[in-house]
Amino acid sequence: MRADAVGGAAPQAVEALARAHRLKPWELAPWLAAIAAYFLFPSYLPLGAQILIAILFTLSIDLILGYAGIVTLGQSAFFGAGAYTAGLLAAHGWGEPISGLAAAAAVAGLLGLASGAVILRTRGLSLLMLTLVIAEMLQEAANKAGDITGGADGLQGMEVWPLLGHFEFGLFGRTAYVYCLVVLFLLWLVARRIVHSPFGRSLTGIRENEARMHAIGSPVFRRRLVIYAFAAALSGIAGALLAETTQFVGLDSLGFERSGSALIMLIIGGVGRLYGPFIGVPLYMVAQDRFAQADPVYWDFWIGLLLIIVVVFARGGLLGLAERLLRRRGRKP
């Protein structure tokens, strides 16, 4: 052991940890794929933009569930809050898209901070129910406030200005796709930075063993609240992107189905992995687009079956499975 310390093992273990945050070549793969998709599937760009938005939304859930271990079924509360913020601004004379995102992030983030300060005092099932309740409450409020939100008919009359005063959000969705891609990329960079920061590592510690985090002097509640509010802001931006690119906001933006399906996509891709959403979301949404057309009745059945298989046989999702296979190959050279 002592000899190792002087020789190889010491630098190896320490170096590996010191290098963990460096960008690896394969991390560029999703972005190259997204850029390639722009040129290869020009008629699918509106679907592409939806996928990018869903990735951002799912990434926000991954940050709190996968890293901090906060279970939630109500992330759509923040998605919807962001969507209505950008939507209402655009419907009332301020259609500038980027400041719309900023406003949505602020509103959703504050909502996350306020609700988190209350509900994050609970754990497990209670917390799950409370997240659900908050989303339901917001949806009902939006339904009742029909004068402002348009209620069940959705918010009408949004006028989103050209991006950077120049690029119209056209029918073919080119601007929308590139806009969503750039926003997702920038926020992914921020999320990646957080995940690899000491703060991000401490979130993982909270997920792995909260009792021990208390025992090493970590302000667990504050850490959980900060990431909850941050993830809420990310969700709000995702909602605002949807509002701006489709020029419409419906009550479903606050609905449970959005939170639930994002959770399924995350589980399929791999929870607690920064790239889980990048695998699970496109797979789910492309499959949904294909299968739902061919066989709309059984779509839910097939996705349910896939989910069961992943949960039973591929803990850690498809990424977890790939990781295990790679490691097994590495052991047997």
Binding site: M1, R2, D4, A5, A9, A10, Q12, A13, V14, A16, L17, A18, R19, A20, H21, R22, R193, I194, H196, S197, P198, F199, G200, R201, S202, T204, G205, E208, N209, A211, R212, M213, H214, A215, I216, G217, S218, P219, V220, R223
Partner: protein, 248 residues
């Protein structure tokens, strides 16, 4: 001079059940003190009260003369109080090295940093690795804790607590679950800890208690029965009856 750790009239009731009953306790600086007692005597409750995992029903807790009764766990850790757990309480999915890094990061006050990558603070990682070397588990540094044999995990349990550089260290059955052939390593490490750390060892194993402790407190049904040197405790008739007598 104030004690490293002190409790005055510490009580904890769960309904009608008093699991801690007016416990007056002093842990001197640099002490090697053991807390013993039969199953259900309230030893672990006492640890949870002292660390802040449980709120007392009455009484006060002082660290280094300062009242910490109202402080949350994290604040007490900042005052120099650390603990290990009877059952391994570790970050099982993280590497051994990272387990210790988390503790050191918290101690150095850098753990809330959201901007710099954790890996860029070599000082934290180097210190963690040096700690693993001292405990003889540096060769496991990269392995996830859950892959380690239980006995090796007990050493990580110690390494995480020591990463906090505590002034008061509560060891809750440090050798629990470890085969007797391996527990010697743990005892050796505890014996070689810096003399200025006040140690409180909560233990079942009498051999270990008499080897490590210079003072012993016997807890029975949530109250202090007697306190004294190992010789006094070994010769005490009441202790023999309630505690040692059980084993004879």
């Amino acid at each position: 001079m104030s004690a490293a750790l002190e409790t005055r009239g510490l009580c904890k009731n769960f309904g009608a059940l008093a699991v801690a009953n007016a416990i007056d306790f002093r842990l001197e600086r640099g002490a090697r003190h053991a807390l013993i007692g039969p199953n259900g005597a309230g030893k672990t409750t006492f640890v949870n009260l002292v660390t802040g995992a449980l709120r007392p029903s009455a009484g006060r807790i002082l660290i280094d003369g300062g009242d910490v009764t109202a402080l949350p766990q994290a604040q007490r850790v900042k005052r120099g109080l650390a603990r290990t757990f009877q059952l391994n309480t570790l970050f099982r999915g993280l590497s051994v090295l990272e387990n210790v890094c988390l503790a050191i990061g918290e101690r150095l006050g850098v753990a809330g940093d959201m901007h710099r990558p954790a890996g860029s603070r070599r000082i934290v990682i180097d210190e963690a690795y040096a700690a693993l070397e001292r405990l003889g588990i540096a060769d496991e540094a990269r392995r996830p804790v859950r892959e380690l044999p239980y006995g090796r995990q007990r050493l990580v349990e110690l390494a995480v607590a020591l990463g906090l550089e505590p002034k008061v260290l509560l060891l809750d059955e440090p050798a629990a679950g470890v085969p007797s052939a391996e527990s010697g390593v743990i005892v050796d490490i505890i014996e070689s800890l810096p003399a200025d750390i006040a140690l409180l060892i909560i233990e079942h194993d009498m051999d270990l208690v008499f080897r490590l402790a210079r003072r012993i407190t016997v807890l029975v049904q949530g109250a202090v029965l007697v306190e004294g040197t190992p010789q006094e405790i070994a010769g005490d008739a009441r202790v023999r009856e309630v505690y040692l007598g059980e084993r004879a």
